[in-house]
Symmetry: C2
Subunit: 503 residues, 2 copies
């Protein structure tokens, strides 16, 4: 085939993917609206709108001619500039994922997800696993079918095929190594930290109320410090904080509790990290697959880089403390940076993942990773899930949930069919530690800058090393190029020791 033809094929693919990107952008705005603005009574109409756009996008992606266009474009891919070549590869990757699942299974999954999620909300509230089990069983069956279909199409194990859709090129063999390392030192480290904290003075209470309007003002101030551009985004309120929208119109949310400002503030910093990533993606590739973010591990590394690494650093808390005190009209030693730091750094085993500290958090993830692999492999029956969960909690964290609501039913992921997602939280935490330490070496004076409330050097470094790369490299390539080594646990271990033991 002549070069002319393959350029034409690639151009046709670019048009098609640009259309998909615009539909995806519309979908993102509808989802954001659903979680922030939509009145309850709009649900059915919105579901219809979203299902229709999904179906149209699916049709555009899986139309038979796309396979031919891809084959034709690949024939003389060497003639393409590097970014276009990477773009073509990424087109093939997302196309392979989209076409691997038969259309009728896509539709069955979508319906079963909705009904299982609905039942889950009720079952969790009623603390009744038996109520959830039959629907979850059906959903798990469909997810296993999907995993098998994807495994076939992608030449991976079923679990890895699921994992690959959240974190491209990540394999469970690599995760096994990393998680085994964490398991080897984390429980011990946790003991040491807890002993140290037990002998230290308890944090003085920082008491509210902290009015929502002031918390929102604080959130916006901190977003501006981090480099959030309000001409290209918004801050709103939702039940669970999230980052939505599109790179040029990035919508983050938080929630407010008038008796505690810390959680909302940290959520704002976390979501700003996600948002900065989206905003920093290569502008000239906005509407193409290669211009998109590189999976959930890298995404989570950006939120945690800003929240856990920089945001909870001693330097930045020292910068924030006087502002918090003046904003909320606080008085006395409770509002000192040292006392606030203590609040930000309480460590100990707990039942609920989303409120766990960064030392125990990986243990929550390891438990879920073990269990979901076993479920996908068919080695763990759903009926045995609650028992296996409680045993695992006891083994890893030394505590046993009093009920399934605060045990194996606490997360929405499985009831919404997301198997293979959990590991990215901890892989993201490891990546964040490794990136932050590399940034500290690459750009001198980072700590002093944070103490002055200056994030510009950190942002410019991650823009260059991570954001601007888009999907032109694999996650591992991004990490190696930015930090000089593959993803490991050493930086995370150093971080935990430095923050909780050496201080």
């Amino acid at each position: 085939m002549s070069e002319q033809n393959s350029t034409t094929a690639y151009d046709a693919l670019k048009s098609r993917f640009q259309r998909l990107s615009a539909i995806g952008g519309a979908q993102a705005m509808l989802s954001w609206d659903r979680s922030t603005m939509m009145p309850e009574g709009g649900s059915a109409a919105r579901a219809e709108q979203q299902a229709t756009l999904s179906l149209i996008a699916h049709e555009i992606m899986t139309a038979p001619e796309v396979t031919d266009l891809l084959a034709s474009a690949h024939e003389s891919a060497e003639a393409l500039p590097a970014w276009d070549r990477a773009n073509l590869n990424e087109m093939s990757r997302v196309h392979a994922h989209a076409t691997a699942t038969p259309t009728d299974l896509v539709s069955k999954l979508s319906h079963q997800r909705s009904s299982t999620e609905m039942i889950w909300r009720k079952a969790r509230a009623a603390n009744d696993f038996a109520m959830l089990a039959p629907e979850l069983e059906k959903l798990l069956g469909l997810v296993r079918e999907q995993a098998a279909a994807k495994a076939d199409a992608l030449g991976l194990s079923p679990y890895d095929a699921l994992l690959d859709s959240y974190d491209p090129d990540r394999r469970s063999a690599d995760i096994d190594v990393l998680f085994a390392e964490l398991e080897s030192f984390l429980p011990d480290l946790l003991q040491q930290v807890m002993e140290k904290q037990a002998s230290a003075p308890k944090p003085l209470p920082v008491t509210g109320p902290f009015p929502v309007a002031l918390q929102e003002k604080l959130g916006r101030e901190v977003m501006s410090i981090l480099g959030f551009d309000f001409n290209h985004g918004r801050l709103d309120v939702s039940l669970h904080p999230f980052t939505g929208g599109v790179p040029d119109d990035s919508r983050i949310t938080t929630r407010y509790d008038e008796s505690d400002f810390i959680e909302s503030l940290m959520a704002v910093i976390h979501e700003t990290g996600h948002s900065l990533y989206e905003r920093g993606l290569p502008p000239e590739w906005r509407n193409q697959p290669v211009g998109r973010s590189r999976g959930m591990t890298i995404h989570e590394s950006q939120s945690l880089l800003f929240e856990m690494q920089a945001g909870r650093s001693e330097e930045f808390i020292r910068h924030l403390a006087p502002r918090l005190k003046s904003l909320f009209g606080g008085e006395g030693e409770a509002w000192s940076a040292d006392n606030l730091l203590r609040h930000y750094r309480q460590v100990g085993p707990s039942l609920i993942r989303v409120s766990a500290d960064e030392v125990t958090y990986p243990l929550h993830v390891i438990l879920r990773y073990r269990l979901e692999r076993a479920m996908i492999a068919g080695d763990l029956a759903l009926a045995d899930l609650p028992g296996a969960w409680n045993e695992g909690m006891n083994e890893l964290l030394g505590i046993t949930p009093p009920d399934d609501a605060s045990g194996c039913m606490q997360d929405i992921h499985w009831p919404s069919g997301s198997f293979g997602y959990f590991p990215t939280y901890t892989l993201g935490a490891l990546t964040a530690a490794q990136l932050f330490q590399a940034a500290g070496k690459a750009r001198k004076d980072l700590g002093n800058r944070l103490e002055r409330g200056d994030f510009s050097e950190l942002v410019s470094w991650v823009r260059e090393q991570v954001h601007g790369v888009g999907s032109s490299l694999t996650p591992d390539e991004i990490i190696i190029s930015a930090t000089g080594e593959p993803l490991g646990t050493a930086a995370f271990k150093r971080h935990i020791k430095a923050r909780y033991l050496d201080r």
Copy 2:
């Protein structure tokens, strides 16, 4: 063709139009967001999303097989139930409009509209018609092309073909008669009203400030009184008030001026009228053409029924007055119902259509109707528009604009390519008067109910007579069935006399 086949054709059309309805709903939410929530920097991405959805909808509507399906379905339409038959007719109507304009002209129009609107904003601010003229000339050329193409396809005159897309089955011959009647009595009536008002006491000033938060509270209270269901809609703020969203999630907006609460409150009532119409459309036909609102005249009749007829009625102002006084902490005679009524009923010639009173408003519309017909017919060159405008203002209202910004450049309609829209404002006002008087006859005690803040009878009547009809009847059929006679000017004349002269 067998009945089986035509049922199949009709069912296929229903699926297709359901998809179009969902895309339209998504579009409506994106437009609402654009005007209420979107940061400026999101414009380009949003434009891409909206253009893509428009293009997809256009492709679905104009695909060659639709013509065959329609022909096939019509062959045995008699076998269909009445609403399905009406639905099929409506499908044909919107399809005829969509296919009448060649695709490349649709695209040219869309681009020329954007650029002309952009120039118009600058030209109006700079009061420079010469800056606008070249772009408006190009746009007018394209609109005339479109009008000619539609005229051909629909068997109408070019202007009527444009009119038909805003107000189905409305013909300029009918408008000529109605507007001639208005011209025959309105200037005279205006003189009498002004003389009467000149000899009456001037309204006492109602002074603010009126805090935005209180105005919003008032708006929500009044919306509830009118029957707005906040489980199926929202109130927000935008530069110009509008009603957006979908029937099950109706989003209205207003704007606030802290020195005047009347304008915002009336905008809220006006938009609530539009919204109640959308909410009241037949639920079982939500996603089909026959379930949609019946054009802009009927739509405007609903907003004006609530704003101008019921909302500014003496009875309802008497109901509102004590609440306004207590809400804003007002004191004295200025806050009496009589004084507030005087504020709501100041009449006199003015330059700007959107702030005109209901007596002079039709004269503004008649001027625009004359001029746009002449432009579409090619009888008025753009260079002569400012002069023709000023002459017309002088003839109809006895005043001459000092400049084109407050003259022929004041409205966005022409720069955005909307020719044939203006008449629907006044046709809507005539319809509103006729409907309100019919409602008063059909449901006794309406006035007393309004004085008690009870809109339930009025709402139930328009639900039955107008909203629930959807597009199963033509606008004229709706008016005749609801009021017993075709649209005329008598009810409007009675209304003006009763409100401004007989009182």
